[in-house]
């Protein structure tokens, strides 16, 4: 059980970071972004591309000379790449859709199409092979009462620091306040002189960078694969919903809880021999929350029916 708790915290921190990103984007733009998972995978794939030795590279990537940059540099490049990608998505796709007043259901379907499109581009150009970052194997150690590798422990700490930074940013900086203002009411925000277009662009960029970071975390703990983002997407939705849709702090807690639920459920007596079904537990929790407390743990009552 305790072992699973450690695993749960690790999965939780990934989901948490990704959920905050999804929740920020939803709050400011009202877009339910099914392509979120693909941005997560992008972070991991770009990082692998810059850090990997040539033999773990793939297909068209093989035509480039080995880059083999240091892991941290590659990760930073990966995150920046995701930010640029998110910004381009907003400028080239979602802003024109917003200006054309395309309905939110149509935009939702567009993000689903986008998700399928990008994911299979990864399959084509980064192959379906499961790969790992070029990092040394490490032995597990005991931290407090959890057993995990030092690297995974660093991921956990880094994730917590990122959360705190986001929290401080949203609460105290002008930009963070502006984002929350646009989230609460776009019209009121623009009346008080906030340029909501640039806020939305900034949200896309920062949300995508966070997603990329979550992808790198996930790839460190598990591995890189083309559909890694889609596999975890529903858990991210679950985390977001559990914490309360559109609330950043809720998403943090919700994500952590979902990660812990998923991993700890493996240790439950009736789950013995049914580890494959562990994700079903988290999804069931999400459905129940949506039905009986749709505003989540921390959300305020809002019309969602």
């Amino acid at each position: 059980m305790i072992d699973q708790l450690g695993n749960g915290l690790l999965l939780g921190i990934i989901i948490s970071v990704a959920s905050v990103a999804l929740s920020l984007l939803y709050g400011v733009t009202r877009i339910v972004n099914f392509a979120h998972g693909e941005i997560i995978a992008l972070g991991a794939i770009v990082t692998l591309f810059f850090s990997g030795p040539i033999d773990s590279r793939v297909l068209f990537l093989e035509r480039f000379s080995p880059l083999g940059m240091s892991f941290v540099t590659s990760a930073i490049i990966g995150i920046i790449f995701c930010g640029v990608f998110g910004g381009l998505l907003e400028l080239l796709l979602f802003r024109p859709l917003r200006k054309a007043e395309v309905g939110n259901i149509a935009v939702l379907v567009v993000t689903i199409g986008l998700s399928i499109f990008i994911r299979h581009l990864y399959l084509l150009f980064a192959t379906g092979r499961v790969q790992n970052f070029p990092l040394d194997l490490e032995r597990r150690q005991t931290y407090l009462f959890f057993e995990m590798t030092p690297r995974n422990f660093k991921v956990l700490i880094a994730g917590l620091i990122v959360m705190i930074v986001i929290g401080l940013f949203l609460t105290f900086t002008r930009m963070g306040k502006a984002m929350r203002a646009v989230r609460d009411s776009g019209e009121l925000a623009s009346v008080s002189g906030i340029n909501s277009d640039s806020i939305i662009l900034f949200t896309w960029i920062s949300s995508s960078m966070l997603a990329g970071l979550a992808g790198i975390f996930q790839a460190i703990i598990n591995d890189v694969r083309y559909n890694m983002g889609f596999l975890i997407l529903l858990l991210i939705f679950a985390g977001t919903v559990l914490g309360g849709i559109g609330t950043s702090f809720g998403a943090m807690v919700g994500g952590l809880l979902i990660g812990i639920f998923v991993q700890v459920s493996v240790a439950l007596p009736f789950m013995e021999g049914h580890t494959e079904a562990k994700n079903a537990v988290a999804l069931a929790i999400m459905i129940l929350i949506l039905l009986f407390r749709p505003q989540g743990i921390f959300g305020q009552k809002e019309r969602i029916s």
Partner: protein
């Protein structure tokens, strides 16, 4: 039926895409055509079911694969089959038609279950709930190996359907070097489409059909007029799910074996692409959408061969899905009403 420009374009496009099959395949175009027509029939049937949900009633259902799965699993488990790692044989079973009936009813009841959240939830949340519920279904089926065969699936069930295949049909089809059992499945799926369309045509023109459309347009108005909007939504969910269940059975018989991997979310997205292409809210739109879609899909391997020197199965699938994603995006942005839909009947925005 007035032959409007929309219809002319749709029919011409369909004929052109069938013509393309003959142009692009020098060897055995007929075989390829009948293969893709079988898939088109099955997926078209599923898309008609989805259209009852989204097109008619405005319910954003992204769990369609699970309805198809429930129909297929319940039906196959009730007829003679072999399942699981050891291929455990079940020789006794219900008559096929009775099993099929129970399968369709089960899919409908699962639709009722999945429809319950629709009472409370707004469109985009319903999308998340339905896709999650479909995943739960798939994970459970994969996990309950003792009942469903788990990852090893179900095999040896085809005879139940193929026993009805007449001898003269077999002789006729074999003359053209086609696969009789597949053409039989295809024929039955197209007959089912006609059957379902006739029923739906009557239903949608009835007061009940108008009430469903009214739920899509303005639920409060429906309530104010004393109609039970909740029950209407649930009925819509059950009807569409039942149709999807039938499609799922045909899908299983077409493959000849039943695997959990068939019912991944991508199956749902295929059906969505077909529905959008054919026309949301148009009864017969999905038929044409399905044929054109499958011609595109089945000819992509040539496209893939152009891009990659020796395209493997994974790359073929990749090119297909890149196209599917692109198709969904482009249609939704530039022509959300598809080939035969009406723009004013689309539900594209929820408050």
């Amino acid at each position: 039926m007035k032959l409007s420009a929309k219809w002319v374009v749709t029919i011409l496009l369909t004929i052109f895409s069938i013509y393309l099959v003959f142009v692009l395949n020098e060897e055995g175009p007929l075989r390829i055509l009948f293969n893709l027509l079988t898939f088109a029939g099955i997926y078209g049937l599923a898309a008609i079911g989805l259209n009852v949900h989204f097109g008619l009633t405005g319910l954003l259902n992204f769990g369609h694969a699970s309805f198809m799965g429930v129909g297929a699993y319940v039906t196959l488990l009730l007829i003679p089959h072999a399942a699981g790692r050891e291929g455990e044989i079940t020789e006794s079973g219900l008559p096929f038609l009775l099993a099929l009936f129970i399968g369709i009813i089960s899919a409908s009841l699962f639709g009722l279950l999945l429809g319950l959240p629709a009472i409370r939830l707004r469109g985009d949340y319903l999308a998340i709930v339905t896709i999650a519920a479909a995943e739960i279904f798939r994970l459970l089926v994969r996990d309950l190996e003792s009942i469903t065969g788990g990852v090893y699936g179900i095999i040896n069930f085809s005879d139940s359907l193929q026993q009805y295949r007449p001898i003269y049909f077999e002789n006729f089809v074999s003359r053209y070097e086609l696969n009789p059992s597949q053409v039989w499945v295809g024929l039955l799926s197209w007959i089912s489409i006609l059957f379902v369309l006739v029923i739906l045509k009557r239903l949608t023109n009835s007061p009940w059909g108008r009430a469903l459309r009214a739920v899509r347009e303005d639920e409060d108005a429906v309530r104010a007029l004393g109609k039970n909007a909740v029950w209407l939504k649930l009925q819509s969910f059950m009807l569409g799910a039942g149709i999807a269940g039938l499609a799922g059975v045909f899908l299983a018989f077409n493959y000849g074996s039943l695997q959990t991997t068939t019912f991944v979310p991508l199956l749902t997205f295929y059906v969505w692409a077909i529905m959008i292409l054919g026309g949301v809210g148009s009864l017969s739109g999905p038929i044409f959408g399905s044929i054109i879609f499958w011609v595109i899909i089945s000819e992509t391997d040539k496209l893939a061969a152009l891009i990659f020197e020796n395209a493997n199965g994974q790359q073929l699938a990749g090119v297909r899905f890149v196209l599917v994603g692109l198709l969904i995006m482009v249609l939704m942005i530039f022509r959300p009403s598809g080939l035969l839909g009406k723009k004013e009947e689309l539900l594209l925005n929820v408050k």
